[in-house]
Amino acid sequence: MKNPNIKLLLGDEAVGQAGLDAGISGFYGYPGTPSTEIITYVQRAKISKERSIHTKWSVNEKTAMEEALGMSYAGKRSMVTMKHVGLNVAADAFINSAISGVNGGLVIAVADDPSMHSSQNEQDSRFYGKFAMIPVMEPSTQQEAYDMTRYAFDLSEKVKLPVLLRLTTRLAHSRSGVITGEPKDQNKLNPPDDTHRFILLPSNAKGRYASLVDMQPELVEISENSKYNKFLPGTDSSLGIIASGIGYTYLMDNYLENKNPYPTIKINQYPLPKKMIRELFQQCDKILIIEEGYPVIEELLRNNIFDDGKVIGKLSGDLPRTGELNSDIVAKALGMKIVDDLSIPDIVKGRPPAMCVGCGHRDLYDELNFLTKEIGKRRVFADIGCYTLGALPPYEAIDTCIDMGASITMAKGAADAGIFPAIAVIGDSTFTHSGITGLLDAVNENSPITVLISDNYTTAMTGGQDTAATGRIAEICRGLGVEEEHLKLIVPLKKNMEKNIEIIKNEINYQGVSVIIAQRECVKFYKKM
């Protein structure tokens, strides 16, 4: 029968619950699929209010990372959450937090998106963990996501380093029953006495970096003895297996009825446990590496120059190099038969996502596309949000989408090169995330670009989170120095189309920075305050 302490949680939610139970004082983050639900979960939790836990969204991943580090500096436990590409934004603070070390426990929960369900690349955050030389936890199940998050806080305080918690889409966005433990009290305010380690002047940083390097054998030792890295003996030594994170569940799914005959190491903690792996190499003829994401472990273990074929996985072609794994893919690598006799009937057509009926981005794109007829080929630089869907038919209204904020800055660079007109389309949340600084660049040179800020008062793509500057976008543009006569507000509705087209046309023709703020609340998520 039902266990009263069991909760049905997404992997993300299990991480949030574990954070609450680990006595966290502050969660920081910027929404990004598949990481968003860690913070939306703790925002809904009653205990967050009761304990005055910080759960408000930050402006971007870098500010979130630094805020979390500030809380850790004060001696309290904090967590920062983001999607994999968000860690690129936070990377400066992230890498340096390993040099300074932490005071209160600090866990960076990053959700990778192999198969790019909702992303621009498949980058693997374990590389960042290795780059920063800090411990990485990679749970296989929702229960482990809970347990390892709690463990990560204790580990962080023990080694005085931040700990990276790596999730992947299928773990972050799958539910399972999770047994939760007793909640812990928050840490007391306890700023550090050895404050010089937080002043990364070269003279201090050199010493800190040397001690981080010196610590590495200790981190390996901790991994070696961690209950989260397991050597599971087997009877057939023709093959040994190393399976990490969710990859382990895809392996074991093939052994529900028959026992896995191969000696196997289940990896959930990095740096890799050397002794265990050495033993596997000595016992087995071949080693199959099963890992979700990049071939991180495989690259470390195989001899790339004189490849003797001992280590197999994604680089040898036994597993696909790109995309997510699943138990069928792993079965094939193990030489097992899979059922694959039905294919998708031809009459089934693709159904890509689209902007919602009644969405203001649609009308804005209609206006922009109408102008194409008049002014001919124009380049529209966009970036990341629901408005990226304007790239798809029937709109095909944008020409670029690279990263958050790149709309304004790429338009500026293109204008510098002589492209005219250069138009940027950016959403309100993306504008505050990383569009403001680029707009200042453009203002400083009065670059001939037209910036359309499609303001729907919310962060819609990730489910309608608050934005950092609702109602203050025009004020921010003025503050940056956008000229009053080239700062326009429009409401993208059918009835205003003619008027709006005229405004957009005039501003495109202006040889300097224009900003047009198209304001219309998100049809799906905006709730009247």
Binding site: K2, R175, S327, I338, I344, I347, K349, G350, M461
Partner: protein
């Protein structure tokens, strides 16, 4: 005891509610459950699916291997066919008949022929039955009801799931969704006879 179910539909059709009902139902019986969801970009009117696995033994992969689903439950007929490589030979294909159209949507007669090629199928107008229950949006519970006779997870457990999920929204919502569920179940039983 084991269920491997694929839920299918279009973003916004209530796939996640079906998943939540089944998962809560399973949990209420002390069973193991794993259930995948789709969040983010695909939720904007794209094809969405959820794998849900229920068992009295520990579950490993959250994703169902191909050929191993004992049911596809779909709120949209073309979407039901998108996941047939996952259906096993004895599996049931249960779907709403009402299309959610896109520009290249297939001919409805052709679609029907494809669906009926599966010997174990239930095709029903879930929207109409949901309207009869009080709200067209309850079509998701109608298809769940229509699939319920073919699942290992008992009806009582599913009903408990419905109560758990909808009771925060009031007793009226529980009743409406229960009615939708029952209408779907009745049609399925009739069609099988």
């Amino acid at each position: 005891m084991q269920d491997n179910i694929i839920l299918a539909g279009v973003g916004g059709q209530g796939i996640l509610s079906i998943a939540a009902v089944l998962a809560m139902g399973a949990l209420s019986r002390g069973l193991y459950v794993k259930q995948s969801e789709v969040h983010g970009m695909s939720q904007r009117g794209g094809a969405v699916q959820s794998h849900i696995r229920i068992s009295d033994k520990e579950i490993q992969s959250v994703l169902i291997p191909k050929g191993h689903a004992n049911a596809i439950i779909s709120v949209e007929p073309m979407e039901a066919l998108r996941y047939v490589p996952w259906l096993n030979k004895e599996g049931w294909l249960v779907t709403n008949s009402e299309p959610y159209k896109i520009p290249e949507y297939p001919d409805l007669e052709d679609l029907k022929v494809e669906l009926e090629r599966f010997s174990n199928h239930i095709i029903l107008d879930a929207g109409k039955l949901a309207k009869k229950a009080g709200n067209k949006r309850a079509a998701n519970m109608v298809v769940l009801g229509a699939a319920s006779p073919f699942l290992s997870l008992g009806e009582d457990a599913i009903i408990e799931g419905i109560k758990t999920i909808f009771s925060p929204k009031g007793t009226r919502m529980v009743e409406l969704n229960m009615d939708a569920f029952n209408y779907g179940k009745e049609i399925a039983i009739k069609q099988v006879k």
